[in-house]
Symmetry: C2
Subunit: 345 residues, 2 copies
DNA sequence: CTCCGAACTGTAAGCGCTCACAACGTCATC
DNA sequence: GATGACGTTGTGAGCGCTTACAGTTCGGAG
């Protein structure tokens, strides 16, 4: 066990007292108030003052102290993006990526920074709950909320503006949320499978403690009624679980001719499992996915799936959150989903 | 395009003025100072006062205002974990995951929150630079620093404590960093391949603007000298790039009998490319990976690779960062790597 | 009974900023 | 020349907290 220390430079101690607004004001030859006005839009600041302040800021290397500002404005200028998932799922599931990208972008337009925190364990959730309510952020985007997770209740109770992605089971009435119309998407897919002549249609659901899990199953049942229970198996959105669930399905109902798999990642696993079992896709068994993520196009055959409007979902979440921050009442938005036909069904 | 609004509850406007320390003090019948002392360790607080304050806090639902606290302590209680990568890589590469998990955990022991920010674009980098230096965090962990990226220089210049993961090319002397001994790891792998009788050993390097990229190539050259340039191809750590690079390698040097692929993910791509080209692994071409990530065990055949000490790396990064925050000089740590023999070589 | 130190508690001075307010020209208007 | 309006500026009062510092109390030693 060698730990070497290549260097230990002679060193510049940290920041020799960082400049404040008073320093800038002194250098510019104006008052603190003028500097502040300049920083906050520059209204009612004369041209000469403005230029002097600009020079002074450059000269001193001044950066606003956000704590001092937040203390008086009562605004943090950032929101939390809370991923309440075991960490490996975060890194496997491309949907988080889409959402993250979208929200970052939309928030940036408002000059608000997004802070991603991963709440993988219960201890994490407690720490994050405390951190978030200590005023660090103006609000929180809760991604992937599971039934029974105490985080949502905690945050809501403390009065923190929250927007949930997906229907927040048990909190539909008092928490803002944006969701894709999972139920309708599922209906579209199952109806499409039926229209192609399939009659024994299995389903690999998502986790049934999330709205995506239950709503897609409901959509399936809307079309098929309370189908043969042997045709229903649950997964957790990972590829491995899709593979395992499909194997189980084949075992319970060897005569099935189509499977609606509630995420593309699981569908990729399903295709692998079917392949292994010697069933051709789509000739022997058709496969329908959900999400229209990248994997839908890279899988062989490419996946017929349901497109989720990630970008609009992100935009709506941010809009709803900022509305809540401004004191508006909770509201909900449901966005349409769309069937995308490819080769697997 | 239907956007429906399922509900718009009558509602509770935001927090009716959240309680301050004075409120707690009043309820508890003590002074603000006592409440503060209680909150900060509870030294010199009598048992009765402590209990009264505890009750008052529970009753009022008081949560400390972090901005006010930070304003006086000059500490934010959080550090940034800056991923300076296009976002898709973030979600593909399991190494980030390991590092994130490790750092979160170690920081949690110090009751410090980790804030993940993704700096995918140059605009992001500017915004994050500003945000980070505005006092939001006490320091930053810079992951995956590329040569020529201005972020590191920016942060350093502003006096923000920074620790880089991997050798910060061009800043080795004045910035703290923790790195695995990439060069030695590469040497171990190439020597192992030679010891197994391989003589035409190709290499798929990482990006050559990162220390991991150049150091592993240097290690390869330490053993083999300035080898045939046809045996050297670069990738970007993604699976797809490993596949492409290997195809190119096979084209340039069809007689090679081993490939050192500088990440497991790329190695998985290499195995696929070899398979497609009709070469057996390891009988026709041996493959060595790097990282010992999960994919090393799931690939068929499982990958002989170099283990990186992620947990220790995380711990050292955090230690170095906290040291810098405390005003210590920059320092560097180099951690040993280890050969893990499996089936691919 | 006095005195001293230890344990505890209250007080007040900020941390760096924003924002209402008052004060100041300066100009056009009466 | 007095008046008011307006653009510009400085001033000061906090935002909610920490932390010296200065009491205060109380027990035990002298």
């Amino acid at each position: 066990m060698t730990v070497t220390e290549p260097h230990r430079a002679r060193g510049s101690r940290i920041s020799p007292a960082r400049p404040t607004m008073d320093d800038v004001a002194a250098v510019a030859g104006v008052s603190r108030g003028t500097v502040s006005r300049f920083l906050n839009g520059g209204h009612n600041v004369s041209r000469s003052a403005r230029e002097a302040v600009e020079r002074a800021i450059r000269k001193t290397g001044y950066v606003v102290n956000q704590h001092a500002r937040s203390l008086v404005t009562q605004r943090a200028g950032s929101v939390a993006f809370i991923l309440s998932e075991p960490q490996d799922r975060l890194f496997e599931d491309p949907n988080f990526n889409n959402l993250l990208r979208g929200c970052t972008q939309v928030l940036a337009d408002h000059d608000i920074t997004l802070l991603l925190t991963v709440a993988a364990t219960d201890a994490d959730r407690v720490r994050i709950g405390r951190w978030v309510t200590a005023g660090h952020v103006d609000g929180a985007l809760l991604i992937s909320n599971h039934l029974g997770s105490p985080l949502l209740g905690d945050l809501k109770e403390r009065g923190l503006p929250v927007v949930v992605c997906g229907r927040p089971l048990g909190h539909e009435r008092d928490v803002s949320y944006a969701a894709a119309d999972d139920r309708d998407g599922a209906r579209q897919m199952v109806e499409y499978l039926r229209s192609r002549g399939h009659r024994r249609i299995g389903i690999v659901t998502g986790p049934l403690d999330t709205s995506g899990g239950v709503d897609r199953l409901d959509g399936y049942r809307d079309v098929l009624g309370a189908a043969d229970p042997a045709l229903v198996v649950s997964g957790d959105y990972t590829q491995a679980s899709g593979e395992a669930a499909t194997a189980k399905l084949l075992d319970q109902a060897p005569d099935l001719d189509a499977i609606f798999v509630c995420s593309d990642l699981m569908a990729a696993g399903a295709v692998a499992a079917l392949h292994r079992a010697g069933r051709r896709v789509p000739q022997d068994v058709a496969v329908g996915g959900f999400d229209d993520s990248k994997v839908a196009t890279t899988t062989t055959p490419s996946l017929t799936t349901i497109r989720q409007p990630w970008m609009r979902l992100s935009a709506e979440m941010v809009r709803l959150l900022l509305a809540r921050v401004d004191g508006e009442d909770p509201a909900a938005v449901l966005l349409p989903t769309e069937l995308v036909v490819r080769d697997s069904a």
